[in-house]
Symmetry: C2
Subunit: 377 residues, 2 copies
């Protein structure tokens, strides 16, 4: 009977306004009512991506847009450089491999951001066709230096392809200004919707690469979607209800403004870090933390999986654990989208109780106090 | 302010029960609450597909599952036979072409079903790797002889791949019994949900073909999804809210039983045909009409597009027009999913009024009476 609250780095909670809109009777995707919605969604996506260009929409999870970024801009046998510092970096490499694109992997220690100088050195070794990276590597809660990397490829023939699934709408990634070539995201993170929509913005350079790409594709076809969007349609039946929800979310972003959303996320991230440190936990990515979510090592002798299970099952707060090499060793708390600052504070209180339950003694209120001190500044 | 009712052959209306479930706070796709839902959805899909095997689920529109059917079971350079009697038959050919599969096109006049003898003759010419067809060619409202075609390929090496987007849940397509190898569908037709989910059932023969397939794929990967489903997960973030809606729809199917749903759809299709004929319209597919939707030629001197526009804008009933070669020449009325027999009757009444408005004089109640006479039998 007790309320459950999601502070997971995707999916994030869906605002009641969006849930209610999505519960309205279905619209037909070829009718004017829906076309009007899609037209406004197109404009809204430009606002959120900070671009003048069209943002492509797929009915799929974010991985679909990642695949499209590869198969629409590259050719068989192309060499690309992939920054791999976690699960999602690995995904770039897997997608390239599946389509016969040669991916050189720049391995980055989990919990660290890629060093700009290392990328620069690699880019000098070979004329890479593309550089692929994550804005936030969600599995480690690390923010990679997207802006600095952009400088490296600016004016070259290398395409700069960024997975912004846990980035767009979280912190500034001004597409046109930074000079990113393809930026993708999904619906279930900062866009506060259920999963099932994927998006991609493309630069002029990326659109030219689409003309030359020889990799096979059908459903995930940027050019076909671009053509259809001009008529407020999609090439295949769109995920109508999720787009109606997005229409509402975009209104919320415009009412709040991107600037305020970014500032609030940054503040909450700072508060979360302060709380975890005050509780005696060690941050997993202290040097380059993301504003989307924060990761910390669980204390020695405390199983991270137990923390995640207990705080959810007993106290109703869903946070995430670690994956693969850090499974059971870290916890991850999200603070983006429709997670409020006092959702975060309450979650920290529940974490304090959970740690005490599991034998790691913390002073009740210590983490909460550290968080609220930051939030009150 | 007036109510709008969808009688379009996709999307179809979403039951209030499903809308309400989908408006509940988001579940996390790795949590036990959702895994329980997915486990029951898996069982329910087996019931609806009438198979003992696993039904694969993608977050995409139906076209995604069509693409997967090709890229997961075939090899580059394979020759396949495609039945093409409308827009969706064309899609099979386009997908094959995009991936280097050689598609021989068996053209069928729009409004006609493919002749079994013609397919038999073609299959004797070449050892085709696959036969691809639609259960209902939605663009013409024709039902192809799926069962009879199954007999042709049974015991051969040819894979039988059926687009059941407008078929599964509409009329009997018992997967295991018929010997179909891949049967795909989407969420927005008989499954009464918003678009955004695609499904595919596979035979043992199809799974073996997956082991040999060399076409590139990443997001649409049957084997990867099969492995994950065993743990009540999907390879990539699933469309959680739509799957929760499907959970409710499956309950409705089980309460009603497939047999009753099929019988009701057949009855409504018969009633719709009787009504259109009584109004003096000529059926577009009289010999092999689908139970999903009915198409009729609009009268000479009446623009089909005007009929569709007026009945929707003035009277609130959304039906479909024709596409491509029959654009403006036919109307299509759906009677599947959450469209009730008296939704259909009301739509016929609105059609009578619309035809009168546009100068084609019909006696008010004549179509309605013909429909209710059939329904009352």
């Amino acid at each position: 009977m007790k309320k459950k609250v999601l502070l997971t780095p995707g999916p994030t909670p869906v605002p009641e306004r969006a849930l209610t809109r999505m519960a309205m009777p279905a619209l037909h995707h070829r009718h004017s009512e829906f076309k009007k919605v899609l037209g406004e969604v197109r404009e809204g996506l430009k606002y959120i991506f900070q671009t003048k260009g069209e943002v492509i929409i797929f009915a799929s999870s974010g991985t679909g847009a990642m695949e499209a970024a590869v198969t629409n801009t590259l050719c068989k046998g192309d060499s690309v450089l992939v920054v791999q510092g976690g699960k999602f970096g690995e995904r770039w490499g897997q997608i390239c491999k599946a389509y016969g694109v040669v991916a050189d992997i720049l391995e980055v220690e989990w919990g660290k951001a890629v060093k700009v100088a290392e990328v620069a050195a690699k880019l000098k070794e070979k004329p890479y066709k593309a550089l692929l990276v994550q804005a936030t590597e969600t599995s480690t809660a690390v923010r990679h230096p997207v802006k600095e990397l952009a400088e490296l490829v600016k004016g070259t023939d290398t395409l700069y392809i960024v997975d912004g699934v846990t980035g767009v709408g979280v912190f500034p990634l001004p597409f046109d200004e930074l000079g990113i070539d393809v930026l993708v995201t999904g619906s279930q993170k900062a866009l506060m919707l259920p999963p099932g929509l994927a998006f991609a913005a493309l630069s002029e350079k990326a659109w030219k690469a689409c003309d030359k790409s020889d990799l096979p594709k059908y459903y995930f076809n940027f050019k076909k979607e671009l053509k259809n969007l001009g008529n407020n349609e999609t090439a295949y039946t769109p995920a109508v209800s999720l787009l109606v929800g997005l229409h509402e979310v975009i209104k919320m972003y415009k009412e709040e403004t991107l600037e305020k959303v970014f500032a609030e996320n940054a503040k909450m991230a700072e508060a979360c870090r302060a709380a975890l440190v005050a509780l005696g936990l060690k941050l997993f990515a202290p040097e380059s933390p993301s504003e989307a979510c924060t990761a910390a090592w669980t204390p020695a002798n405390v199983d991270g999986a137990e923390v995640v299970k207990r705080i959810r099952d007993v106290y109703g707060y869903a946070i995430a654990g670690g994956q693969d090499q850090v499974k059971g060793k870290i916890i991850r708390i999200a603070h983006m989208g429709y997670i409020s600052r006092y959702d975060l504070v309450a979650c920290i209180a529940a974490l304090e109780q959970t740690l005490n339950d599991l034998g790691f003694k913390v002073e009740p209120g210590k983490g909460v106090g550290a968080a609220t001190a930051v939030l009150g500044k």
